[in-house]
């Protein structure tokens, strides 16, 4: 058996190449791998080993970051299947989605201006629900239907939702401090 360890993150963590991964298995594999390659294990060894360990640990961290969260995992899976989420040819959005984006942005901006923390929390909560639904959609699109172009649109929606959540986080922090 000869695995190309650098080939893709799914094989690095010993996982099948699907969207609905076993996150617990990922976590376990991640810890096992880091236990093996982490720079703390190589601190007393010569420079070459220390550098290799840093490169490996960096790679393993990158893999974990990529597979752990649905958004990054979805993007990555699509890219493995030849669909780049943010390539130019792919950024055309449905008018509905653009409309929806604008409404959300306005709602957040309004709550921020009004310094309405409760409203911001409420919006955050709704976004979380929306994100959950979107992840479900994505799972169907990728794992069941192999509809990668549809999935790319879902990923972009998720990206938008995540960005909004960040904005709300920042707004809330601004209110608190």
């Amino acid at each position: 058996m000869d695995v190309d360890l650098r080939r893709d993150f799914f094989s690095l963590f010993g996982l099948p190449r699907v969207f609905a991964i076993d996150t617990e298995a990922l976590e376990l594999a991640y810890r096992d791998l880091q236990s093996l390659v982490h720079p703390d294990r190589y601190a007393h060894l010569p420079e070459t080993e220390r550098r290799l360990s840093m490169q490996w640990a960096t790679h393993v961290n990158e893999g974990y970051r990529t597979l752990r969260k649905p958004l990054a995992r979805g993007r990555y899976l699509l890219s493995l299947n030849g669909v780049e989420v943010d390539s130019e040819s792919n950024t055309a959005m449905s008018p509905d989605f653009l409309m929806e984006q604008m409404e959300w942005r306005e709602a957040v901006e309004e709550a921020r201006t009004a310094e309405d923390a409760a409203e911001l929390e409420r919006l955050h909560h709704r976004l979380r629900q929306l994100a959950g639904e979107m992840v479900e959609t994505l799972r169907g699109q990728i794992d069941a239907h192999h509809d990668y172009h549809g999935a790319a649109e879902s990923v972009r929606r998720l990206m938008f939702i995540e960005k909004l959540q960040h904005d709300i986080d920042d707004a809330l922090l601004g209110l608190e401090s």
Partner: protein
Amino acid sequence: MALLQISEPGLSPEPHKQRLAVGIDLGTTNSLVATVRNGIAVVLSDEQGHPLLPSVVRYRGDARVEVGFAAQAAQARDARNTVVSVKRFMGRGLKDVAHVESMPYDFVDDGGMVRLRTVAGVKSPVEISAEILRVLGERARASLGGELTGSVITVPAYFDDAQRQATKDAARLAGINVLRLLNEPTAAAIAYGLDNAAEGVYAVYDLGGGTFDFSVLKLTRGVFEVMATSGDAVLGGDDFDQRIFCWILDNAHVSPPSAEDARLLLLKARQAKEYLSGEPEAHIGARLASGEEVDLVLAAETFTHLTHPLVAKTLVPVRKALRDAGLRPEDVKGVVMVGGATRMPQVQRAVAEYFHQEPLTNLDPDKVVALGAAIQANALAGNRAADEDWLLLDVIPLSLGLETMGGLAEKVIPRNSTIPVARAQEFTTYKDGQTAMSFHVVQGERELVSECRSLARFDLRGIPPMTAGAARIRVTFQVDADGLLSVSARELATGVEASIAVKPSYGLGDEEIARMLQDSFAHASDDMHARVLREHRVEAQRLLDATDVALREDGQLLSTQERVAVDAALVQLRSRMAGEDHRALRQAVDSLNAATMELAARRMDQSIRQALSGRRVDTVGI
């Protein structure tokens, strides 16, 4: 424990040989050195039995340097030449330092890291910190009876790149090999977690003399995973002293104090603060050099009231870290209190109220960081026993970014990314034949570059000349396990590696460090040549040992030809070990490193493959 099943790549080549390693807590107020002795972490005391070394450095007219209690005793007498809380100046410009007006120093500000003019000349905070480290290093050598293999030095988790680099530079000046920079709250978590076999989500609230850190960690079967960290690099017990100091000035009706009187009153303020942790009121009495008398009583209640904004200020990073970790206060199983300033009852009350539980105060808040660092140092030195297998996964505290058009900062690596971490970005040239390019790296969360910390400017040179837009330059930002950034660049079409000149905004250049090293030897018994030779010998021995092990275990991974090259390099290095020529030695080390590079890489691949196939043959496939 699941982790035990994994073969460890870096086991000590000669397990019987215990390497001497220490943990150093380089604190704003107090510094400590600790080690693991017979499996137990202990703080090393000085000859008088003091575990703490006050982080005070006094430069005397006779070229001698006093560190610790002697310096502390002289601080009111010789305030200008006696530096306290130097950690606040590390990697900082003058404009970043709070309360400069009440500080008795003669600051030298030329844009970069602030420096202090003393009777012994202009000193950088790096040199001043090196004096503290030197004393601790000597203490450790004397008490352990030998040369140190290396150390783990703790830094506030919220320290930025410049502050971390300054700390590492200070160690270098002091002749102390740094195995790792470790975040202070993480060190505390190690000491607490291993001691209590803790599992679950824990927080560390670390309020020291000059810095505040708050970290949230997940402890799962021997893995310490930092989920988020936040803090305030200029908030600590010193600020509480400052509040009392101002209160004294307001209430004692004395004229604006001289540098010496100010220092005296700050000292009185600190004593009152510490006293109030156990008593309802404190008497503050002092006779000033001006002849005026101070005679006041400060009630605990008044003190609590005065410092309420400071305590509230600590809760801002607490909320931020919890939010980043996606947690609510009630998700936290325990809050470990670290740092002398957490002895203040109002601080403990605020934490208890916020988390709806009593914080964990059963550790010695002064020592726990040093003890954790010692445990980590012991493991990093390769002394860990097979049954103490644990792993630390830490994060960077602040986002790293690049300046883009219009003074905006574009994030390259977000805060709370697990380290080591790397991100690459691609750039292109905008002029025909362009061979150079500049970058400005900043750290912080704000959108405007002017509101972030400027870390460094990088000049990229040696881009192969092409038409505008044809070059594809991939710039890689690598943050290592110390949380330190390095940048490399490569033109993708030609594969040419671009050279990078780094100009740190608040750090020391290589030349400056070399000069400081020279200076430090002018007064020391040691000399530069001997030091460099010693360091190279340590690295050479390490390489020889590791190569022996690698050849014994996996020699078959090399072709005959490769083996011949390794053997030749081995022979050369062995023959130069005894010599006095440090350049020749270094060169032999480099040759052996180059000859064994492939072997090291193959061994690493092999061990990963073994781990993979051992656990999941069926899923890996191919």
